[in-house]
């Protein structure tokens, strides 16, 4: 090869890399508005919370000090925080299986039904559309120890009345009941969509192949085909019930005796009632860690093992 040819080849290469760089710059410029929004709305606040959790900043104070892991070491010995964390986990452990299980049951019943489907769908979805704060007030009346409908019913059945929201052994479960009532509708709608997406001829093939009993058909076709929808619903329910706050704030304020203290409520109190913004931020970081963990589980297990195509 002659020198000229080499020079020409090098020149061509340079021109090509120059063109690639121009394309890259254009790409960054075009995506800049979206990237800035993403940064400003989602990433920076998260980062700020993270930074804040290493300070002793008080809400509204002009100065702050870096205290390193001080907030976290304090959390480790804070009995209210541990109570709050265990309450939250218990709440999630009750609400997720029941709201998903019942949601699936209702979805199967509606799908199998022949009449009134639209009515049942709307009725079960109602709690999702209603504001939980307003609904919480209704539940407060329902759960009222003397005139509440639930105790009246219990009494009518000859069962002892309960002081639902004031009994430390029952309060969290009463809130979990409301949580299930609220989450069930959304789970039902998502699972109903999942059920509708199952091709009819799979059921027909199963009927010919001999998998035609209700249970066999459910485990042979419905459940595996519902895998993607079900895993999505499970994770969404877990994340949403981890965020339980409204009912606690309106009905129990964490009581009685911290029996319904949950993570977001503790964070809210530390940050906005006691103005300990740094400490509140540390709780938020713990909360975010859990949500991140759930999201990772979804990304890893759910999407790899449950999708088929």
């Amino acid at each position: 090869m002659t020198t000229t040819a080499l020079t020409l080849a090098a020149e061509r290469g340079r021109r090509r890399s120059g063109q690639a760089r121009a394309e890259a710059i254009a790409a960054y410029l075009l995506s800049a508005p979206a990237m800035l929004c993403l940064l400003g709305i989602l990433l920076l606040p998260t980062l700020a919370t993270f930074v804040l959790s290493f300070t002793d900043w008080q809400f509204g104070a002009p100065t702050f000090r870096w205290i390193g892991l001080g907030n976290y070491t304090q959390l480790a010995t804070d009995r209210v925080f541990w109570r709050s964390l265990s309450n939250t986990v218990l709440y999630v452990a009750v609400v997720v299986p029941l709201s998903v299980g019942l949601g699936l049951g209702v979805a199967l019943l509606i799908e199998a039904g022949t009449s009134g489907r639209a009515f049942y769908r709307a009725a079960y979805f109602l709690p999702v559309t209603a504001t939980l704060i307003a609904m919480a007030t209704v539940w407060e009346i329902m759960l009222h120890p003397s005139v509440g409908l639930i105790n009246v019913l219990l009494d009518g059945l000859g069962l002892p009345k309960q002081n639902w929201l004031k009994n430390p052994d029952l309060a969290l479960f009463a809130l979990a009941g409301i949580g299930i009532w609220q989450a069930l509708g959304l789970n039902m709608v998502l699972l109903l969509a999942g059920l509708k997406a199952i091709p009819r001829d799979l059921y027909e093939a199963a009927a010919i192949d001999g998998a035609d009993g209700p249970w066999t058909r459910f485990v042979t076709v419905t459940l595996p085909m519902l895998g993607p929808a079900l895993s999505f619903v499970l994770i969404i329910s877990a994340i949403r019930s981890f965020q339980v706050f409204d009912t606690v704030a309106v009905l129990t304020e964490g009581g009685p005796n911290k029996a319904t203290e949950v993570l977001l409520y503790t964070m809210y109190q530390e940050g906005f009632s006691f103005f300990r913004a740094g400490y509140g931020a540390a709780i938020t970081v713990v909360f975010l860690a859990f949500v991140l963990l759930l999201t990772l589980i979804k990304a890893r297990v759910a999407e790899k093992r449950v999708h088929y195509s």
């Binding site: 009927a207 066999t216 595996p224 085909m225």
Partner: protein
């Protein structure tokens, strides 16, 4: 006989089946006998009721009236699984979360094990469940080898091509030796090349299985190439049930003649002349119809039954070449009849392409014995010898 020695053995007996969905009548009093080793194709345009009839045989739909018997046994009211039929679906209906081996083995698993034996741990540990799963995997292996998919047994359907999925569906159908095979347009999702190969394979599968096949398609090429007999359906009724050759050469009525054959048969409106010939637009056909003079009828001529000569002739239909389609093996001429403006199609040898360019005057003549005559109600008239 169109089908072999056991023609007298009943395979599928359909008696007076009627079916409506809401107010739409899909099947009107359909009766049909399929021999125990026969390959019968239900052929017809979409919406003619052929798939519904197949699903009634399978037990996926219930007939409003009438009765189905399989191998001489009345199966009305039986569940699909009790009927001992296998079905191949247009979509293949493979279970996407199961491997190929599990897909093929499911019909055996459901028949040879009880539900407690299929529970996750017991399935692996209990001796009876393990024995069953050994025989199942042996049979799955055999079916897979018959269809040359034994190397894909561990894959999921999503990892297979369309042709491979179709074989898996066939393997799942044949694995437990059913007494009837039902196929609902199993080739329509394959590309044209694969479809031709698959036709030969299904015909071969039928020969080896030696049981009744009921095959639903709207594709006449599939019907003509694989079947012992073709049952042509339209509007929920059977128009004709006959061997492919018979249904092509001696269609019972005009609608059958028009549905079977590609390109479509030429239909010329004609009037019987007093000298016995038939006057059509563009000329006179020397056909003795045996009908009284002035009778109006329809003359059907298949494209390959024209004899095309360049220029004008005394008898036959004169016209002008408008368009040529050269398929290599065949050349189709689109001819506009003289004065009538009717378009006729004629098949000629590709070698004469040069002599009949577009715009050329030609005469279409025919062999009188190959012409099909239909009366005004569409019934075929036998031609007097």
């Amino acid at each position: 006989m169109p089908f072999s020695h056991s023609a007298f053995l009943p395979g599928v007996s359909i008696r007076g089946v009627t079916k409506s969905f809401a107010t739409t009548r899909v099947l009107a009093d359909v009766s049909l006998e399929v021999g125990a080793r026969e390959f019968l194709t239900l052929l017809g345009p979409s919406g003619c009721g052929k798939s519904t009839l197949l699903r009634i045989i399978a037990g996926l739909e219930q007939a409003d009236e009438g009765s189905i018997a399989l191998g001489g046994q009345v199966v009305d009211g039986m569940l699909p699984r009790q009927r001992d039929v296998a079905m191949v679906f247009q979509s293949y209906a493979l279970y996407p979360y199961m491997t190929v081996a599990e897909n093929i083995g499911l019909p055996l698993l459901m028949r040879r094990t009880r539900s407690w034996q299929r529970l996750p741990l017991i399935r692996r540990l209990h001796p009876s469940a393990r024995a069953a799963s050994r025989t199942i995997s042996r049979d799955v292996q055999r079916a897979a080898e018959a269809l040359q998919i034994e190397t894909f047994l561990d894959r999921k359907p999503a990892q297979l091509s369309g042709g491979q999925r179709q074989r898996v569906a066939l393997a799942r159908a044949m694995v437990r030796n059913p007494r009837v095979f039902l196929m609902d347009e199993p080739l329509s999702n394959l590309d044209a090349k694969l479809r031709v190969a698959a036709r030969a394979e299904i015909a071969d599968l039928h020969r080896r299985a030696g049981v009744a096949f009921v095959y639903v398609t709207h594709d006449q090429a599939e019907a003509m190439t694989m079947s012992d007999r073709v049952a042509l359906m339209m509007g929920g009724a059977l128009l004709q049930v006959a061997s492919p050759a018979e249904i092509y050469d001696r269609p019972a009525e005009l609608r059958v003649a028009e549905f079977i054959g590609s390109p479509k048969i030429n239909i010329l409106p004609g009037v019987v002349r007093s000298d016995g010939g038939i006057a059509v637009t563009g000329g006179v056909l020397p056909v003795a119809s045996g009908q009284p003079a002035a009778t109006e009828l329809s003359v059907g001529v298949r494209p390959e039954h024209w004899n095309v000569t360049a220029g004008g002739e005394a008898t036959g239909v004169g016209g002008t070449v408008r368009h040529r389609e050269n398929l290599g093996s065949d050349l189709f001429l689109h001819v506009e009849t003289q004065g009538g403006g009717q378009s006729l199609i004629a098949r000629v040898a590709p070698e004469i392409a040069e002599s009949v360019p577009p715009g050329a005057r030609v005469t279409l003549q025919l062999r009188p014995d190959r012409v099909l005559l239909f009366d005004r109600s569409g019934q075929r008239i036998d031609i007097q010898p």
